[in-house]
Amino acid sequence: MPAGAELVSRESRLPRSVARANRWSMGAKLTVVVVEEDRDRAIAIVDALKDTIDCDVIVIADASGLARKIAAHAPDIVLIDIDNPTRDMLEELTLASGPLERPVAMFVSGAAGGLAQAAIEAGVSAYVVDGLSPERIKPVMDTAIARFSMVRQMRTELAETRRALEERKVIDRAKGLLMKAKGIDEEAAYALLRKTAMDRGRRVADVAEALVTASGLLG
């Protein structure tokens, strides 16, 4: 069990806001909840956070009952991918009563102007408990932003590579069809595909795809 959570449970008879205020005044660790269902990505983010900041990190992977699960950990900061549709479930947290219990989007916590923009660009949204000082938020956010955007970039690259491979396969098949049907060599087949694509204002991969589909239909 993370130390932060333990502290909360020891003080569970106090209102949570008091518990939290005590925790801060003692300079205790931050508790950060990361909402992420992809295990590898979650591990990458946890490692990055732990390397830079002295904090407890809890990962929540399953969106069912999300708001309740998060509230149970009484985190100081909640990090979630901006593209995650379950993000709307966190809006319920912003309605919790009690000033120190209320996580707010980081963007309103005063110092966050440029940080908010950077976070949106990087694709991370944060909910930060009201009243937490900007100096303590910033390193967490900087790390999260860097890590989220790196993972995102890797994913995009992977998707691009996959797509390129798929297209190569289709183009190869189209070339094969042309070579067989017209008795031409590979180079001439590719030139024909490219010329057709240019004449029609389409991509070579699209023309190849159409050819493969049509030939499949014609049997």
């Binding site: 969106a63 069912s64 009952g65 708001a67 901006i82 593209d83 995650n84 549709p85 379950t86 993000r87 709307d88 479930m89 966190l90 809006e91 319920e92 912003t94 309605l95 707010v104 989007a105 963007f107 309103v108 908010a116 923009q117 949106i120 949204s125 909910y127």
Partner: protein, 391 residues
């Protein structure tokens, strides 16, 4: 004229149609703009993209700008609702477990009577029913609360939980929620997946409820009046086109594209036509004004609508609103709507507020050209909301 590109965020829903159609059917181009439509993964994301300048305009739940003006939720950038994009269009539905119990008790799924539906639900429930809604600040929540408070369900008779619409069917199956209120096509998707049945259209609770608005940052509206006018006119023209019955098939095909809703046109057509399939048994129900983009001055952002929303939000969240409603209601920009649409050939109402719920039959009203009729806007309980009594 040089075409200006405007980034615009939307959620993949049938009621994003005016924005999508404005771009696809050339209404934007005719105004010298091009809409860069960005499908957002969540409503918080739409709101943040708008508030922090990633987009200039957005398809937004009508209570969101009102809530923001009241300091509710995370972000407080001043937002203006310059037009209503759609009126009505939500459905209330139940999961299979509740559907079975309702059928056993003899409920006919008439899809029209909110009092009887509530009585039937109250009779078969074993504890508080949990309803899934897309967002804490939404017409969905307001309609549910209004309906429960005035029926056998009772004000505290339900629990409301946020569930992203595409996950609504899964949440029903998993038992996280018993019922839901959601915008189309997600109600019909739940029916087709065998996850539940539709109980009521939103309009059975409030006959003319502003559902989504065209929202912009208030400072952007001030610094870019020309662009704003072009955007508003393009979207208004799209709404007018959508209201023609012969546009329906085309609209459904366009909305169904991968970049937009990415669901079958047949499902989208149910909302556009008001012919809904309410259960897995294939029962069909037909609803007048199920979803309206144009008729009855649908696009006009009545300040009285904003006031009604503000008052309901205040009551639900324990905020004192007396003396503040007038100010909050100004986020619905009747002034800008009139200024920018007067030249588009629209007939605009002379007033900026009306008594909500008072119109029983289509009624001619004072308007710029004298040819405007408002459509019935009654609440199911027959109550009215007089904005002059709430300031």
């Amino acid at each position: 004229m040089k075409t200006v590109r405007l980034p615009v965020a939307f959620m993949p829903l049938v009621d994003a149609a005016p924005l999508i159609i404005a771009q696809e059917m050339g209404f934007a181009e005719a105004e010298g703009i091009s809409l860069d439509l960005i499908a957002a993964p969540s409503w918080s994301s739409v709101r943040d993209m708008l508030a922090f300048g990633r987009v200039d305009a957005a398809h937004l739940l009508s209570p969101v700008p009102v809530a923001m003006a009241m300091g509710l939720g995370g972000v407080s950038t001043p937002i203006s609702a310059v037009s209503v994009l759609s009126v009505n269009g939500n459905v209330i539905g139940v999961g299979c477990a509740v559907e079975d119990r309702l059928r056993a008790s003899g409920h006919a799924f008439d899809f029209s009577d909110p009092v009887r539906a509530a009585e039937a639900l109250a009779e078969v429930r074993s504890g508080p029913l949990t309803f899934g809604v897309p967002f804490p600040f939404s017409m969905h929540v307001e309609l549910l609360r209004y309906w429960c408070a005035g029926t056998a369900l009772g004000a505290g008779g339900i629990e409301i939980r946020t569930v992203p619409p595409p996950l609504m069917a899964d949440a029903l199956v998993a038992g996280d929620i018993d019922a839901f209120c959601v915008g189309e096509p997600w109600g019909s998707v739940a029916v087709d997946q065998g996850a539940g049945a539709l109980l009521l259209p939103g309009r059975a609770i409030w006959g003319f409820a502003p559902e989504k608005v065209l929202a912009v940052r208030t400072d952007w509206a001030e610094t870019e009046p020309d662009l704003l006018g072009r955007l508003m006119r393009a979207v208004w023209q799209a709404g007018r086109w959508l209201s023609k019955p012969e546009s329906r098939i085309t609209a459904g095909e366009i909305l169904s594209r991968k970049a937009y809703l990415d669901v079958a046109p047949e499902l989208i057509d149910r909302a556009l036509s008001g012919h809904l399939t309410v259960s897995g048994r294939g029962e069909q129900r037909c609803v007048e004004t199920f979803l309206e983009f144009h008729r009855g001055a649908a696009t006009f952002p009545w300040r009285s609508q904003a006031k009604w929303i503000a008052r309901r939000l205040g009551m639900a969240h324990g905020l004192e609103t007396a003396g503040a409603l007038e100010e909050v209601a100004r986020v619905f920009r009747a002034d800008l709507h009139r200024r920018h649409l007067a030249v588009a050939g629209s007939d605009l109402p002379g007033a900026s507020e009306k008594v909500e719920g008072a119109i029983r039959h289509a009624t001619p009203v004072a308007s710029a050209r004298g040819g405007l009729s408002l459509l019935p806007d009654g609440f199911f309980d027959g109550c009215i909301f007089d904005p002059s009594e709430h300031v």
